[in-house]
Structures are given as C-alpha cells and as structure tokens.
C-alpha cells in the first residue's frame, strides 16, 4: 500500500515538473510532446491550404481557355502550392512526428535540447506566416517553388515576391537545422539503458540518418537563398552572367538540397512503415541489418543525383551518363527496404487493420513513382519528358505515395496512443478508397498528358491539342481526392471527440511507446526502462509493469530537476543523468529577434535588421547562460544501484554532440560556398575578372596567425582549467583579443584588397568568403568573453568544462576555414589566374 502511495506521489511530482504552464505560459512550452503536436497541427493546417491551392489549379486547367484565374494569379498559386507542400507541410510534419515520438520510442522523458525544438517551432511558424501573409497582400512568390534565376532575379521579378520566398523559406530552414542538430544528439545520447545501436527501433535509425541529411542537405539551399537575396538587395552579381555570375549555379545549389530532400521526406515515411509492418505481421522485421545498411546507403547516395534535374541545361555527355547511373543506383537501397517489408509480411501472420490498407496504398503508388523515376533517370527519355506533366505526375506519385499514404497510416496507427481513443475504421476505409481512386484518377493518366506534350506551369491551353479530356479527368480525380481528405479529417475529429476509450496497446505492438498511458503522461515514463530487444514489449513481458511501478531508472523526482538518462552512443550503457530545462520564453524571444531581422531585411530597413541580428545573438547568449551548474555535484543515484554524473560534468555531453552536428552543418555551408567559387571560376563565361585580390602576403598571413593564436589560447585555457595549474582567464582574454585581430584582418583584406563587390562575381564571392571568416572570428571573440564571464560566475570548473571545450572546437573550426579561404583566395589567382 505504502509503495503504491509513493509511486503516485512520484508521478504527481513528475507531472508538476514536466507540465507546461497554463495561459500565456503556453508560449514558454518546451516539452517535446507539446512542441511535436504543435508542429503536426500547424503542418496539417498548411496541408489544407496547399490542398485548396491545388484545387484552384485543377479548376483552372479543367477546360481549355479557362479564365477562372489569370496568368499572374496562377503563377503565385502554383509557386505557393509547391512551397507550402514541401517547406511548410512535409518537412515540418516529419519534424513534429519525430519530436513527438523519438523520446517515446527510445525510452526517454524528453529530447536532448527541448528549448532548441521550441525555438525551431517558432521559426517555422514565423517563416510560414511571412509566406502566408504575402498571399493575402498579393505579393506571393511567383517564380516556381525552385525559384530559378534569372527569372527570380531583380530584373525579371522586380517586386518583393521572390524576396518573400527567399526570406520566408530561409527562416523555416532555421527550424529544419535546429531539428537536425536536436535529433542527431538525441538519437545518439538520449535512449534507454541497454538500447545499443543494434537494439534501437528502426525509427531511430531512420531519423538519425534523416537528421544528418538535413544537417548536410539544407545548407546549400540556405547559401543559395542568401546569395540570391544579397544579389537582389545589394546587386552583388552571383548569378548575373554579364558580371561573371552564372544562373546555373543557382540550379546546382538548389538541387544539391532538392534531391536529397526527396529522401529526407521519404525516409521518415519508410520509418513509420518499418514500425507498423512488424506489428501487423506479428513478427520482427526480416533483415534488420539489411534495412539499416539500406538507410545509410540511401542517405549517402541521394547526394549524388542532383544533376538529373538539370539534364536539359547543356551538360557534357560524360556528366549526363555519370549522374544517370547514380540516379538508377539509388533504387537499390530503396528496393532492399521494400523486400524486407514484403518478406516480413510473407513470413509473419499478417492481420487486416485500417493502417494496413493505407500501407498497401503506399506500396502500390510508391512503386509506380519509383519506376517512373528510373525512367526519368534515363537521359533520352528525360529530354523528352522534362518540364511536362509527366514529371508532375511522377513527383506526386513519389511524394503522395511515398509520404502522405504512410503518414495517414501512421495517424491511424498511433491515434489510440496520442488521443486515448479507439479507431472505429469505417469512415477511414471510405476515406482510403476515395483517396486511392481520386489520386490515381488525377495523376495516373497525367503521365500521358505530359507525354502528349503538355508543359508544366502554363495557366491555360487552347482547344484541339488532345489535352482536354485528360485535364478534365484529372480535375475530377482531384476533387474526389479532396473528398477523401475531408472524410479523413472528419473521421479523425470524430474519433478524438467521441471515440470510445482506447484499449491498452490495441495492435499488440512490441515497441516501447505502447507501454505508456494512452494518451501519454507529460513525462512519458514513470521510470526509465532497461531494454534487451528491438521489440521489448514482446520479449520482456514484465517491462511495462516494472516501469509503472517505478522499478526502472530515475523513478523518483528530486531537487526540482527534470531528469532523463544519457547513454553511451554505441553500447547503450548509462553514462550520465541529463538535466532537462523547464518552460522558458527564451526560444520565443530569440525567434522574435530573428523575425525582426528577417522582416526588416525583407522591407529594406537595414538598420533595423542589424539591430535584429545583434539582439538575436544577445538572446542566444542569454539562453545559453541559463544552462549548466554553478557548483560541482557528486554522482547521483540513478536507480538500480547505479550512480551517474550529471551531464554538465561529462565529456560526451549532448551539447558536445550538438556542437559537432552544428559544425557539420556549418562546414557543409562553407564547402558549398567553395564549390560556388570554383564552379564560377571553371564554368562562368565572364572570367577572369578585371583584377584579382591585391593585399600582399603579410596581411593574410597575419590574419591566419591571429586565428591560430586564438585557438592556441583557447587550448591553453582548457588545459589550465582541467589541471588547475595556471588560470584560464588570461588565456581567454588573449583568445578574445586574437579573434578580434583575425576579424580586423578579414575586414582589412576586403577593404583594401578588393574592388566593390558589385563589379564582378569574383569580387562578390571573395568578399563573401572573407566575410564568413570574419563572422566566425567575431563569434570566437564573443565566446572568449562569454567563457570568461561564466568562469567568474562559477559555471566553469575542472569538472564542468563544457563551455570552454565548445569554444575551443569553434576556434579550431574558425582557424581551419580561415587558412582554407586565405590559401584559396590568394592561391587561385597565382595558380590559374590571368586577369583580363
């Protein structure tokens, strides 16, 4: 009896600690369930908007010569349809799904950086509202969702339509990057005890690779957007062919992001399939390690296909064949996953349930989309079908088949868990057949529409071309599909509002999330489990009861701490107790400062934009200040007789992994910028420029030296702090000073060695690269001062050295990029240059 009372008391205390405050306090929410649901709900709203836009497009194309929409409105609507579906629906829905479920699948109480995911949500919402607002203001983007230059340049799009896209999407991308960093650190470090990589649910693998792909895949788009926005705002000619730029650079950068994005969308959908198939087949997935290998292979190879979107732009034959081969090859790992699912169903005892219906829809439609993808990878066919409705049909087969159908299956599968209500099924079946028939009626013969010659992005067409009935049938199919989505929405609302209470684990699944309350408590697990299998509920029948009775890890609340377990990334051995932050307004404040920056830039109020940027940096530092411990703590009892250190006192803390993931993202941005520099040098017609950089060798050498001395000083500070021999303060101040000198060196090279950036793309890109180095030196200097202040305030000690070590990593990165840029900028003219 007393034990039961103790468990109830612990649960009450955990509920108090992990709850989101009411009223305006909801704006301070950081709990992963709250943020994940918000992501999914907002993404669903944008999906409805994107669907309505699609209906307008289909209504316009239903008959030839239609005057329902004019050219200008049609351009805005098809651009916004693509933008909303790709950037405001698909990616954020994945983010919401992963943020909500990952801790529940991995047996944790929250994510590694809950405030970062809250920040990501606000960035997503604000960026989305900028794009949405532009529609009501009549200045929505109208150059297509991939915003090709020169159409999107100042000359052909003089209004702010393109700026809205560049700034809105970049703001939303900040959210995606935050997600990537968050999930890499979480999947590697925040799991249950015993959950080695080999016992991790496949969803964890899929999300780990997806998060890494986002960290690597989104920087090229962010770079492209920044370059184009700078060109539009300040006339730096990155894409202007008359001044040494090249419009094809935009296409390369865009598709360097754009093709991996298809897999960024597909992999999480495949993840939910891999979670559901074993449940309904009543057996573990066949070929777990084959699927893991296939996920990793997809992640890598998807970065080697981007040029197949550019087969018609005039590329040498060897490159065409090279990318054609790579495009076909990526089908291999996808096929492995398909065969693993089919083999699981074949070997198991499959049961018919509503989610399975949608899974079969997925299998059928996505296979068709994959096959037309292989057709488009063949260069001669691609030349014929490029920019026709064939491609529109193909991409919808891939994205709706490969993403929307699995997501609906997932919605029905996990609805009992997160709503606590039973799925009835009847209306859901109607919805499926309406969607399946409507989808195929819309898009199956749209392949033919393309093959008989109808191009994309035309707002109307004349009679007599043989396109009339094809378009009319597509429009009818589109409205049937809309009816299907309406039935689905109705079913979900009816289930949530009036459904019968859900039975526990209604599908008899084997993964951890089904051991939770339906709906789950705010803290997820009353105590954290120890797992010994990929499907622990099948192999450990007592696990659920043990967790509920507090017989797992960290079953008792103490010191007002929100705790979860940190484990070794490979073995799953517990190695730290992670202290999670409570509700805070800092993510909202920081995102609001960024909103000021982006909005004022959009409106051309650059002084306000500068203030917004400075305020964002200050807010980020204030946010960081709230973390950490102000004194050393002994190892704490984690339960099961285990004592563990608190995470700020551990070398491999989540923040360390977060910094590595962040620098991976940053490094990709940098390498992509180098690619742009070398690409223009090799390909752009108006090269070489009038003159090259002229600074002499002393200034660049001194700049690099200062950056390396800053690194050495940080290194010394870390060493002094760890050993206790010597004070870290002078070394930190020296690091700050050297960083300031490196910043000054970069600024002087720009000011004294280069003409104005508007004169040639060479000057613009060189200035950009030196500015990038200068910005990093500035941040290194700020970190030096920040670490000094933290030291003074008692947040740093020999055991609590994370701040210093992170600053050292940053300084190392800064020194590395500094030397690469200086060698490149000074060396290329010597090696290849002969000014015109």
């Amino acid at each position: 009896m007393n034990e039961t009372a103790g468990v109830s008391e612990d649960r009450r205390e955990l509920t108090r600690l992990f709850s989101t405050p009411p009223g305006f306090g909801r704006l301070a929410a950081v709990n992963h369930s709250v943020i994940g649901l918000r992501f999914m709900l907002v993404a669903a709203m944008f999906f409805i908007l994107g669907g309505l836009l699609a209906m307008l497009l289909r209504a316009q194309l239903a008959i030839p010569g239609n005057e329902f929409l004019d050219n200008e409105a049609y351009n805005q609507i098809f651009t916004m349809h693509g933008t909303v579906m790709m950037f405001l629906f698909a990616i954020p829905l994945i983010e919401g799904l992963a943020l909500y479920f990952i801790p529940k699948f991995l047996g944790a109480r929250d994510l590694s950086f809950p405030r970062l995911s809250a920040f990501g949500f606000w960035c997503y919402l604000f960026g989305g509202l900028i794009l949405l607002g532009s529609m009501f203001a009549g200045v929505a983007p109208d150059s297509g969702w991939f915003m090709y230059t020169p159409l999107s340049g100042r000359e052909f799009t003089p209004g702010i339509n393109a700026d809205v896209w560049l700034i809105g999407v970049t703001f939303v991308e900040v959210s995606a990057i935050a997600f990537g960093i968050e999930l890499v650190a979480t999947v590697l470090k925040v799991r249950s005890a015993g959950m080695s990589l080999g016992r991790m649910p496949l969803f964890g693998w899929y999300i780990l690779i997806t998060a890494l792909m986002m960290v690597i895949g989104f920087p090229p788009l962010i770079l492209a957007s920044i370059l184009l926005e700078i060109e539009r705002a300040f006339a730096w000619p990155f894409f202007d062919v008359a001044l040494g730029g090249d419009p094809l650079l935009w296409q390369h950068l865009f598709w360097l992001f754009g093709h991996p994005e298809v897999y960024i969308i597909f992999l999480p959908a495949a993840a939910v399939v891999s979670m559901m198939v074993p449940t309904f087949a009543r057996r573990p997935l066949v070929g777990y390690h084959w699927v893991v290998g296939a996920i990793i292979a997809t992640g890598f190879i998807s970065f080697g296909l981007w040029v197949h979107h550019m087969f018609t732009v005039g590329i040498p034959h060897l490159a065409l064949v090279f990318f054609s081969a790579a495009s076909m090859f990526v089908a291999l790992p996808t096929t492995i996953q398909f065969f693993a699912w089919l083999a699981t169903l074949w070997q198991g005892r499959p049961v018919r349930r509503l989610p399975m219906l949608y899974l079969f829809g997925f299998l059928f439609i996505f296979v068709c989309g994959g096959l037309t993808g292989v057709m488009l990878a063949l260069v001669p066919f691609n030349w014929q079908a490029h920019d026709t409705h064939f491609v529109v049909a193909h991409l919808h087969y891939v994205l709706i088949g490969g993403f929307v159908f699995p997501v609906i299956a997932a919605l029905y599968y996990w609805l009992p868990l997160f709503s606590g209500k039973e799925v009835s099924g009847r209306l859901g079946q109607w919805a499926f057949w309406l969607l399946f028939i409507g989808f195929n009626l819309t898009f199956l013969h749209m392949h033919l529409t393309g093959l008989v010659g109808m191009p994309r992005r035309v707002y109307t067409y004349p009679e007599g071309l043989g396109w009339e009935w094809l378009n009319l049938v597509s429009t009818i199919g589109g409205f049937i599909m809309t009816a299907g989505f309406a039935a689905l929405l109705l079913d979900v609302i009816a289930t949530v509002r009036t459904g019968a209470p859900a039975r526990r684990n209604p599908w008899q699944a084997g993964t951890l999330e089904w051991s939770l309350d339906h709906p789950p408590a705010v803290y997820n697990f009353a105590s954290l489990p120890e797992v010994r299998d990929v499907e622990p509920l099948w192999e450990q029948p007592d696990l659920e009861e043990d967790v509920r009775a507090g017989r797992g890890y960290l079953g008792r609340a103490r010191n007002d701490w929100q705790e979860t377990l940190g484990v070794h990334a490979i073995s799953g051995r517990p190695d730290q107790i992670i202290l999670l932050p409570g509700p805070t307004y800092m993510p909202l404040i920081t995102a609001s400062c960024l909103l000021v920056f982006f909005l004022s830039f959009l409106l051309g109020i650059y002084w306000l934009s500068a203030i917004g940027a400075a305020a964002s940096l200050l807010a980020a530092l204030r946010w960081a200040w709230a973390g950490g411990l102000d004194r050393d703590w002994p190892d704490q009892d984690a339960g099961q007789g285990l004592k563990l250190p608190l995470h700020p006192q551990v070398i491999e803390a989540p923040g360390w992994w977060g910094m590595l993931a962040g620098l991976l993202c940053n490094g990709t941005f940098f390498i992509t910028a180098l690619f742009g520099y070398l690409y223009l040098w090799a390909v752009a017609p108006q090269w070489p420029p009038e003159s090259f950089i002229d600074t002499g060798m002393l200034l660049p050498a001194a700049t690099v030296l200062a950056a390396f001395l800053a690194l050495l000083a940080f290194h010394r500070a870390v060493g002094n702090n760890a050993s206790g021999q010597g004070r870290p303060v002078p070394a930190l101040l020296a690091a700050g000073l050297m960083s300031a000198l490196a910043l000054a060196g970069c600024a002087m090279q720009i000011a004294t060695g280069l003409p104005h950036p508007t004169t040639h793309a060479y000057v613009a890109l060189t200035t950009f690269l030196l500015g990038y180095c200068g910005l990093h030196a500035l941040i290194a200097g700020v970190l030096g001062v920040y670490c000094w202040l933290r030291l003074r305030a008692g947040y740093v000690s020999a055991r609590r050295s994370l701040d210093l070590r992170l600053a050292r990593i940053w300084a190392g990165y800064t020194a590395a990029v500094m030397i690469i840029v200086v060698v490149l900028v000074q060396g290329m003219p010597l090696l290849l240059g002969e000014a015109s």
């Binding site: 292979a297 080697g304 190695d575």
Partner: protein, 122 residues
Amino acid sequence: MTPPGWTIRALLRLSAGLIVWASGFVFLYAGFSLGCQLWAPPPEDGLSNPVTLMLAGFMLVHLAAMLTLGWLWWFRPVVAAADESESSRRIRHRVEGLVLACSIFALVWIAFPVFMVAPCAG
C-alpha cells in the same frame, strides 16, 4: 569508459565504405569538370587522353581504399564497446560489410561511363 574519439571512429567505420564512395564521387565529378576546363582533349582522341587517365586513376585509388576496408572488415572486425552485447556488435559488423559491398558496387557503377564516353564531348 570509452573516449569520445572511439565512439566517433566506431560511427565512421559503420559508413566508411560510403565515405570513400563520396570522396570518389567528388574526385570523379570535380576532376572531370576541372580537367575538361584545363586540359580538354580533342574529341577525336576518344578515350586515350589525360583526363580519362586521371579519372581512371582516381577510381582505382578509391577502389583500393575500399578493398583495404574490406580487408579490415574481414580480418579486423569491429570490437564491442564496454557493456555492448555480442548481438549488437555483430549487427554493426554486418551493417559495415553491407555498406561496404554497396559502396564498391556503387563506385564501379558510377565510374564505368569514364571508360565508355570521351570526357569532354557534348
């Protein structure tokens, strides 16, 4: 307690084949682009030209690196982390092998056009 460097090496080893593949991809694509810019051979030279030779060299170097990884996989399999179960270690070992096999196939697959098409034509 395993040091952070060990963990990162273990994670990199899991995907080592594809990292080499990615390097091979960059060398092939960049080598072809820059080679055709700097030393473009006349089309009538066919496949006997310095650019094709250079690309073939890149491919062979990367293939050799992959075969070395294959040797490591066979003779020096991954070791378990402290407290890691044998089944988990075995899964890492198998994934590493599968990824490596896939990488070798992918490298040969994307590099074969080098021996089929004159590099700078078109």
